[in-house]
Structure formats: structure tokens, C-alpha cells
């Protein structure tokens, strides 16, 4: 399964400045593992020491926040868009 991953500005040092990269994987967890293979260091920015999504990272598969789905086990169908976004935006 091939997906497109949108990379936030603060992670683009790992992708050579690219704002979008492709990755392989049937679940979000597999996608992150594949990202790490090609962009070493990126997984540790997105995941904490226990291997969970950091609390200030939002990840969307297509339009769905993975916290409303199955978290890291959320399915990533072929051609899906994955967005990694800092959570510390918005509000009053």
C-alpha cells in the first residue's frame, strides 16, 4: 500500500525540505516504520519513548483523526493521504 504523507515544517529537515513524501504500509504504524527507513530520525519525533503518538501530534488518515479511529493501528488504504500536524494550534 502506498500513501502520501504531508510533513509539517518542523519535520522537513528529515525529508530534505519536502512537504510531501510517499510511504508504504497498511497501517499507520507500518507507514511510520517505512518513513523512518527513508528519513532516519523522524519516528522519534512523532512517537514517544513508549512507541505511542506524542500527545502534541495530530495525525489524520484522509479526513479522520486517528484518535477517533484505531490510533497507530488505523488502516491506511492504498492512495490514502496521511497528515502529521502539530496539535498546539488554535483556540483561545
Amino acid at each position: 500500500m502506498s500513501v502520501k504523507v504531508r510533513i509539517p515544517t518542523i519535520l522537513r529537515t528529515y525529508t530534505g525540505g519536502d512537504s510531501e513524501v510517499t510511504a508504504e504500509g497498511g497501517t499507520l504504524s507500518e507507514v511510520i516504520t517505512d518513513l523512518e527507513k527513508n528519513h532516519q530520525g523522524i519516528a522519534a519525533r512523532v512517537l514517544d519513548d513508549a512507541g505511542k503518538l506524542r500527545r502534541f501530534v495530530n495525525v489524520y488518515v484522509n479526513d479522520d483523526d486517528v484518535r477517533f479511529e484505531q490510533g497507530l493501528e488505523t488502516l491506511t488504504p492504498d492512495g490514502a493521504g496521511v497528515s502529521i500536524i502539530p496539535a498546539v494550534a488554535g483556540g483561545c
Binding site: R45, A87, V88
Partner: protein, 430 residues
Amino acid sequence: MAAQAVEVTENASSVTLGPAVGLSCRECGERFPLGPIFACASCFGPLEVAYELPDGDPEQLRKQIEAGPHNIWRYAPLLPVPADVAEKPNLNPGFTKLVKADNLARELGVTGGLYVKDDSGNPTHSFKDRVVAIAVEAARAFGFTTLSCSSTGNLAGAVGAAARRAGFRSCVFIPHDLEAGKVVMAAVYGGDLVGIEGNYDDVNRFCSELIGDPLGEGWGFVNVNLRPYYGEGSKTLAYEICEQLGWELPDQIVIPVASGSQLTKIDKGLKELIALGLVEEKPYRIYGAQAEGCSPVSTAFKAGHDVVRPQKPDTIAKSLAIGNPADGPYVLDIARRTGGAVEDVNDEQVVDAIKLLARTEGIFAETAGGVTVGVTKKLLEEGLLDPTLSTVILNTGDGLKTLDAVAPTTGPTATIRPSLDAFRSAGLAS
């Protein structure tokens, strides 16, 4: 694109914003130079402004503040703004009324003194003018030409108005189904207003993606890439409340919670006043108020969790309808640290509370104010708020913006012919 973003940051490191000396991550403590960045590059944690605050005689500082303008710029020595900020075109919000709410206190059985900090008195009738005023100065310092935001309504109006006064273009984003009053107030200033088909969290996600795209280059999003500065505006609520109480800390404060930023910054402001010797240190309790239909933080508080699970909002309190609150974990920390609580009320209780405040104090609050008053009542009934202590309630916006919430149950007592007989017959004479 990435190179350009870095370049902006490097240029920005030479800017001067009063006592601000840099940005620091609330999670891991990493420091960054002042710039239009908002998330830690190491851990994604939120960045906040670090200061070198005045260390002189507190009495001198107090006198300097008291001699300042009757707006938030009287606290300029404690804010990330240039020293001559009061000379620049800005909406100059703040120094709103702190109303001693004796009638409401009697109704609720509060004996220790009850006050309403009424921020509907700001230029665009909500507390958002405070945070936007600070963001405008940061945008100016970083050379942005367009001001933007994701908004539940009040912020869109505040950004639209402030942009016009300060000479920026504005383009703001809101959920497509907001209250008519807020849409009109956001649109009237003439900047671009864009309705997004989705809820606030969808709008926020869109803005976060736009900021990382060439389409958003040169844009200052007040609550995204300017968020560390913007948030500091809420500290002025803490400063004003204490100054208006005669430079004293209140015992208890009840604050509405959307993203939670306001509550965390009020706590920061109170701690700064103590550190500066401007108020005498004593324990204070901070309480958060949410609507039941969007209560991710109160749900986590009551369950004893330290992680906030996002919710899909469904409440009339649209200005608080943030299902994925950025500062939620910090609200939990503060409520627990100070001995406060986070509670929620349903929509019917929100409407009742709006009417209660209007009936007792002549203050017409928007739905967020109804949430805060309703939660105050509930906390008192639950024994979580001490009626014998001084208590401040925040009203963060004007009821004229959310007429839809009360219109179905509010209207004329009678409609009569223009005659004394008709008046007498209607039973309104005494």
C-alpha cells in the same frame, strides 16, 4: 519551502519584543530564538514566551503600571511587545470592568465576594481583542502582511478589526455554520472571511496545513504561528483582576475552557505577579468550565486522566466547541495543582445561566459566559467551590453575538394596543 521557513525564523531572532528573550518548550524546555514558530522541533510541545522581567522595586513597577493607559498596554513591561507599543495603531483593548456581583452572589449563596470580569466591553466585544493585540505586534515585528486565524467566531471579528486598524490584510477562517451575529461581526470589517465546511477542529487542521504550504507564506496566523505571543494576551486578565481587587489575588477564579490557553495564561499571569512582588502570595484555586456537548477536558478531569481524549462537539456554546483542545493537559495540571476542578453544564443550563446573570447583574453574556456562570452554580451545589471565599467569574463575550441561544425563550412580556386600558388589562400596572 523549508529553507524559506527557516530563513524567516533566523531573521526574526533579531527582533526585540520588550522583555521577551526567547521561546521555550513547555514539554521539554528546549529554547528557541523569538520567531514565528509555535511547536517544539524536538517533541512537538507548545512553545511559550520566556522573559527577563523587571527585577526592581515592586512599588515602583506598581506606580508605573497605575500611571499607564487604561488598556492592556499599562502592562507592557510584562508583555512581548515593544516599549512604544501604545504609540502604534492597535485597538488598545482591556481594562474592562470588574463588576461586584452582589445580586448574583445572594442568589448563589456566595458570601466571600463575587465578581464578574466583563470582557464584553472590549472593542469587538470579546476577550479576543487582548490576544489579537499582542499577535498584531508580533506580526509587525516579523514582517507579515496578512493576518489570519482559525476561529469559532469571536476571534475572526477581533482579527478583522485589528487588521484594519493596524494596516494588515486579513483572511480568516470559520466553521460554515456559526451564529449569524458572529459572521456579520467578522465580515463587516471588510477583510476576507472564509467559511469551511466542517467543525472548528477541521478549520484548525486546514489552517495548520496552510501555514506549512507556500500558499500561506507571509501570513501571520494569530493562533498558529503567532500563538506563543497571542496567548500571552490572556495574562492581562490576571493582571487586571488583581489590580482591580486592590493588588490582591482572588481566592477562586472560574474560567471557560475551549483550547484551554486562556486558563493556562491566567495562571501564568498570577504567578508572575507573585514573583514580581506585585501581590502577596496566597493559595488560589482555578476552575475550568465547559459545555457538556464539548467537554473533553472536564471528562478527563472527572475520570482522573491526564490525557484528553478528543470529542466531536455538539453544543450551543460554539465559541467553546473545540473538541481537540491544544492546552487541555495543562488545564488538568493547573486545576489539580491549585485544588480547583473542571466541570460542565448542558445547553439548557447554559441558557438558564445567561438569563440568571442578565436578571441579577444586567450583564448579557454570550454562551461561553453562560457556561461559566452555570458551572459556577454547579460547583457551588457540588461543594467544590467555597462560597465563603472571594470568587471571580469570567464573562468573555457579548450576548448580542449569540442571540439565537436565548431568543426562543425570551421575548416581550405582552404586545398591546397603545392605550391605558390595554396596559391595565395586561396586568402590568404594578
